[in-house]
Subunit: 176 residues, 2 copies
């Protein structure tokens, strides 16, 4: 039996509403699977975003702009981790081992004055997005190709929800 420990008193429980009584009936589409998920604005504080992700143990974040309801970027948790790696270590990974303990221990501190926009890659990346009526296979193909732990589902040009990898696998198993 797998066991995971959790840091004490750091997690806010996420309310889990009752699942809608959907039948998995051989016509499962992305909009049937997606879930509500925290969304962060591109000009919001980077430290707040890291807190959100850490507290709720999320796989990643969906970034939106003020002017559009379609996702602007999807940040996997592994890429949010990049925020706490000093630039000179990203340029030369060998330097990670010479960062002193006190520098390592205050890694998140410097994010306070930065925004999500500051932290995004300079070149815009492909966004893992599916249309509301896409099948499990279409969502899986995007997720695997872009190596993203989540896919944003868009309906009528607006963010409808998010599908995580484990959610998708769970749905695929139900259809066996």
């Amino acid at each position: 039996m797998p066991v995971r420990t959790q840091p004490e008193n750091t997690l806010t429980p996420i309310p889990v509403p009752e699942c809608s009584p959907r039948k998995y009936c051989g016509c499962v589409r992305a909009e049937d699977l997606d879930e509500k998920f925290p969304v962060v604005k591109i000009d919001s504080n980077a430290l707040d975003a890291v807190r959100l992700l850490a507290e709720h143990r999320l796989n990643g974040l969906v970034v939106v702009t003020d002017t559009s309801e379609t996702p602007f970027a999807v940040l996997p948790a592994s890429q949010v981790v990049r925020f706490i790696v000093p630039g000179y270590v990203q340029d030369d990974p060998g330097l990670a081992s010479v960062v002193t303990e006190s520098m390592a221990d205050h890694a998140a501190e410097k994010l306070g004055g930065k925004t999500i926009r500051d932290m995004l890659p300079k070149q815009r990346q492909h966004i893992p997005v599916a249309e509301a009526d896409d099948t499990i296979i279409e969502v899986a193909e995007v997720m695997a190709r872009l190596r993203s732990p989540l896919v944003a589902v868009v309906k009528d040009g607006k963010l409808h929800g998010v599908i995580t990898a484990s959610r998708l696998l769970s749905a695929a198993l139900k259809e066996e």
Copy 2:
């Protein structure tokens, strides 16, 4: 407040043991942060591995061999999703939209006769591994560079535990 829905009756609760009373004291090392995590053997059934990941909503799996206690591979959940994408769709993503509903709905079925070994990339990948005495920054650097949602921690040549991205961020915030 973020809200996530969950599929009904599909999740087995993971027992959460009491956290050990570690002090975050400016000398946090990988072995202080890592958690127990399910490990799968390389010759185990691929379908069982998908079930494990889906049921416990894991970020990924650590793969070991029969002959060594060091990790052989780390499979992010997004790459396990690849298992349910037919090979011809992986080769030509445009074909995802022409997979019929009935094919999509039985995507997991064909995994029953396959092993994890069958599903690993032909060419062995870099493994996200940290030593027990690595700092937060060293773990973060590996995680970000290899875009992995988890890093396996090795002590004396043996798997000691796993650090997820959200766990690492949580630790970095504690040190502010």
